[in-house]
């Protein structure tokens, strides 16, 4: 394909060319910034949670009337909940998957220069393992003998813990974690690892640091009137949403109590990604509309040019050009414009993305995605050109013989 005549014709239509290139490049810039930020959000969204979060209900109840006996009330809660048909397991806990933001630094030795490892700690009843249906991968399960449940403030913390698969690997690599000793703070009491369980999502903080599954279960509930544990309840498959209200009314059977959160863990998971998610959604919708408008605009312009150049096209056909040559002419012209526009757009994108990455401390840059976007812009614009160009190919060579 001879490119020179196309360049010449573009030069003749300087204004139109510049307008189209600008349009393509701005579309490219908006589109790719939106897609790059969305990709990062989606990447986090696709992380497996490790639990059947659709069947697990979280309830956070609190006594505003401090004269009520919390210990007795919690026993009645457990009885009522277990008696409810459809409930399969219940656990009291101080941390909830997807919002376990209490990050602790733990150590493998008690020495001054020990290296810290970040993890989320689930202080909970051992039944948490049943509620979340975590699999035992190594060692033994925590038993009720390991459990420390006390509201007097007199007890020591639990001495045995289980760690998640990811944390075990980060700490001990190929070695078994079972039997190892850990310190949950510098100079604190040591705890013994008795088993390893399958991974479960912790929360945004660790997720953002690439340690989404670093967790540890310590079987203790050192509750007080000011520090009430939450409830996680697993119900029959598919009854999650239906049972929330039933459970809430159980909690309101106690006087002087307020139920704060009552939701499926699915909703907690959704909340984990909300801030970026909604922005990404808006950007994505805008870019889709923008791309459509650009494509339609290009189709319109090509159709106009086809009409403008009827005579030239006829002449070329008369001189022996095939139909495919005519179509190819328009496609090549559009390709030049699209690529040049995309190049400019990509530069603007890089500029925007570096700024965003610095602000959000997140690496949005993804050259593969930019390449794919350019490719799809090219394809869509090519289709937008091809449709009207087909008409051009149908122009009969005989048109030359007419007067105008």
């Amino acid at each position: 394909m001879e490119i020179r005549p196309i360049l010449l014709s573009l030069k003749q239509n300087k204004f139109m060319t510049i307008v189209t290139v600008l349009q393509v490049s701005l579309t490219m810039a908006v589109l790719s910034s939106a897609i790059l930020t969305t990709l990062v959000t989606l990447r986090a969204w696709n992380m497996p949670s490790g639990i059947h979060h659709n069947n697990i209900i979280r309830i956070n109840a609190e006594f505003y009337d401090d004269t009520q006996d919390l210990g007795a009330a919690m026993q009645r809660d457990l009885q009522r909940i277990k008696a409810l048909p459809g409930v399969q397991d219940v656990a009291r806990t101080y941390a909830v998957p997807f919002t376990a933001e209490d990050v602790v630094e733990l150590y493998q030795t008690n020495e001054e220069n020990a290296q810290p490892m970040q993890t989320a700690v689930f202080e909970a009843e051992t039944s948490l393992l049943d509620v979340l249906q975590l699999k035992l991968l190594d060692g033994r399960r925590l038993s009720s003998a390991d459990e420390v449940i006390d509201g007097t403030g007199a007890s020591q913390g639990a001495a045995s813990v289980m760690v998640s698969e990811a944390l075990a690997k980060a700490l001990f690599n190929e070695q078994s974690a079972v039997g190892k000793t850990l310190w949950l703070s510098k100079g604190g009491d040591p705890v013994q690892v008795v088993g390893v369980y399958s991974n479960v999502m912790t929360g945004e903080r660790l997720n953002g640091r690439g340690m989404s599954y670093h967790s540890l279960i310590r079987p203790q509930l050192l509750w007080s009137q000011e520090n009430e544990p939450e409830y996680l309840i697993r119900v029959e498959e598919g009854r999650g949403a239906a049972m929330i209200e039933e459970l809430v009314s159980l909690f309101y059977q106690e006087q002087g109590r307020y139920v704060g959160a009552s939701e499926l863990l699915t909703r907690v998971q959704k909340r984990m990604y909300d801030g970026r998610g909604s922005r990404a959604l808006i950007n994505l919708v805008i870019s889709a509309v923008l791309m459509l408008i650009t494509a339609v605009g290009i189709a319109g312009l090509t159709s106009f040019q086809v009409n403008q150049r009827r005579k030239q096209i006829g002449t070329r056909r008369a001189l022996g050009a095939r139909k495919s040559d005519i179509i190819r002419y328009f496609l090549t012209e559009n390709t030049l414009i699209t690529w040049f526009g995309c190049l400019l757009g990509a530069l603007v994108t890089l500029f925007l993305i570096f700024d965003l990455s610095k602000r959000d401390e997140e690496n949005y840059l993804n050259m593969g995605a930019i390449g794919l976007i350019i490719l799809s812009m090219w394809v869509i614009n090519a289709i937008a050109t091809w449709l009207p160009a087909r008409k051009a190919a149908k122009i009969s060579p005989a048109i030359v013989t007419r007067g105008n």
Binding site: F15, V30, N283, I293
Partner: protein, 450 residues
């Protein structure tokens, strides 16, 4: 002649309707999106508290230790300590009113448990708060000055009154606040503030549901839901101050209250002078070890800073880019449409029509386009704003209430008129080059081959 040109313009719009429609589509979608984001950004940057914004001053003083980091902006300043708040409040300062505000939350319920208890956010402050910030009252009023000593009185927000009392005049009625009886003295009407500054919370769309005297809040140990700016040595314990160790907190150098002064004729210099002499007196007790640094800024000044740093300009810029693309798109189509008409124009010119007539005809055509696309654009904006409300509620996980979020996404007549003007202006702008091209071609050029 005008009528003739008008009918010509109309006819030319009708020919090649697909191109006209395409242009309309591009222009109205672009305008719609731009108006959507612009409305949101503008409503979010409105200056709260209306006429009083320029007379209400936030008082800030740097009471931190010598080793603390230097502060360059008012927003980074620590809050006011309890000691200074009480001292300044009781001092004869050159202010019309003074008040201080603490953020809190509590559970509201009834003794008979008929309505489920509700936990919600509120503010603890003094009687003058209502005189200074002028919240609109539906029933009753703020509490009397005497109640500042810690009376069990409460002012409810409209939403809370609707939920607890079904919206009736509840003044004089009693309810339980953290299980202790309080009496309603006033009910607010809807009080939309683009930014909630009075407690230095900087929230958008989360109004307080109740107000109690600050002394009541302290006596009954309501949660102090605030940040404590303590000296380095006290910082580790500061989280305890949320609901414990009130006496230590009162005596400490921890800042946690927002202190406000209403000043006459927007002149803070005199107040600041008095504030400086107060601080210098306090130095005698070993306080305020650092170089004198105070800010007395009114709400207008604070909003200027917030809008410049935390506004929604990036969305507006993006929407503007979007509109630009749509306009570029429209230029191309307009050019295509006009150039097709070269022959017709040449004939008209040859028959004696003046350049100005040609310009008039096409300007009219473009203005009509601008007007129609403004109508469609506004329609799109209304739908877009509705969608934005839903997204906002979804993003807040339905913790924000519809009635609190709505005001940020409300299109008003002023904005709608502006949109019309922008649309017509942009239409004229994009038509300059196509019309110029149309008029500047030689008359004879197209007549030759006829």
């Amino acid at each position: 002649m005008f009528a003739y040109n008008f009918s010509l313009a109309l006819r030319s719009l009708k020919e090649r309707p697909a191109l006209t429609l395409l242009m309309l589509l591009a222009m109205s979608v672009g305008l719609g999106l731009f108006v959507t984001f612009y409305t949101f950004a503008k409503n979010g940057s409105d200056i709260p508290h209306g006429d009083k914004a320029s007379t209400l001053y936030l008082v800030q003083m740097d009471n931190r230790e010598l080793s603390a980091d230097k502060i360059d902006r008012a927003i980074d300043m620590p809050d006011t300590t309890y000691r200074d708040a009480v001292n300044l409040y009781n001092l004869d300062m050159p202010a019309i009113h003074q008040t201080y505000v603490m953020r809190t939350w509590a559970t509201l319920s009834f003794a008979d448990n008929e309505v489920r208890p509700m936990q919600t956010r509120g503010a603890a402050t003094t009687a003058d708060f209502f005189t200074m910030f002028e919240p609109p009252f539906l029933y009753g009023s703020g509490w009397q000055l005497a109640a500042d000593s810690g009376d069990s009185q409460v002012v409810l927000g409209k939403t809370m009154n609707d939920k607890l009392f079904g919206g009736i005049n509840s003044v004089g009625k009693r309810l339980l606040l953290n299980n202790k009886p309080v009496t309603v003295v006033g009910v607010l009407d809807t009080w939309h503030l683009s930014w909630r500054l009075y407690d230095r919370g900087y929230y958008q769309g989360y109004p307080h549901d109740f107000f109690v005297p600050v002394q009541y809040a302290l006596n009954h140990n309501l949660t102090r839901d605030t940040r404590f700016d303590c000296w380095e040595a006290d910082q580790p314990q500061s989280s305890r101050f949320t609901n414990q160790d009130l006496d230590i907190l009162r005596a400490s150098e921890c800042g946690w209250l927002a202190f406000w002064a209403e000043l006459p004729e927007a002149d803070p210099a005199q107040y600041q002078e008095k504030l400086h002499s107060y601080i210098n007196e306090q130095k005698a007790y070993g306080r305020f070890p650092r170089e004198l640094q105070t800010y007395v800024l009114n709400i207008v000044e604070q909003m200027d800073f917030l809008n410049a740093n935390y506004g929604e300009q990036s969305s507006v810029i993006m929407a503007l880019l979007f509109y630009t693309v749509c306009l570029l798109n429209a230029i191309g189509i307009l050019l295509a449409k006009f150039i097709r008409r070269s022959k017709e124009v040449s004939v008209r010119r040859a028959l004696g029509a003046r350049k100005s007539a040609i310009i008039l005809q096409h300007t009219l055509e473009v203005m009509m386009l601008g007007l129609v696309s403004a109508v469609f654009g506004l329609l799109i904006a209304v739908l877009g704003l509705k969608a934005m409300v839903q997204i906002r509620l979804w993003a807040s996980d339905y913790n924000a209430r519809l009635e609190d979020v709505m005001p940020y996404f409300q299109l008003d007549w002023g904005l709608a008129l502006q949109a019309f003007a922008i649309s017509v202006l942009c239409a004229l702008l994009i038509s300059i080059y196509p019309i110029w091209r149309l008029c500047s071609q030689p008359v004879a050029g197209y007549l030759k081959s006829q």
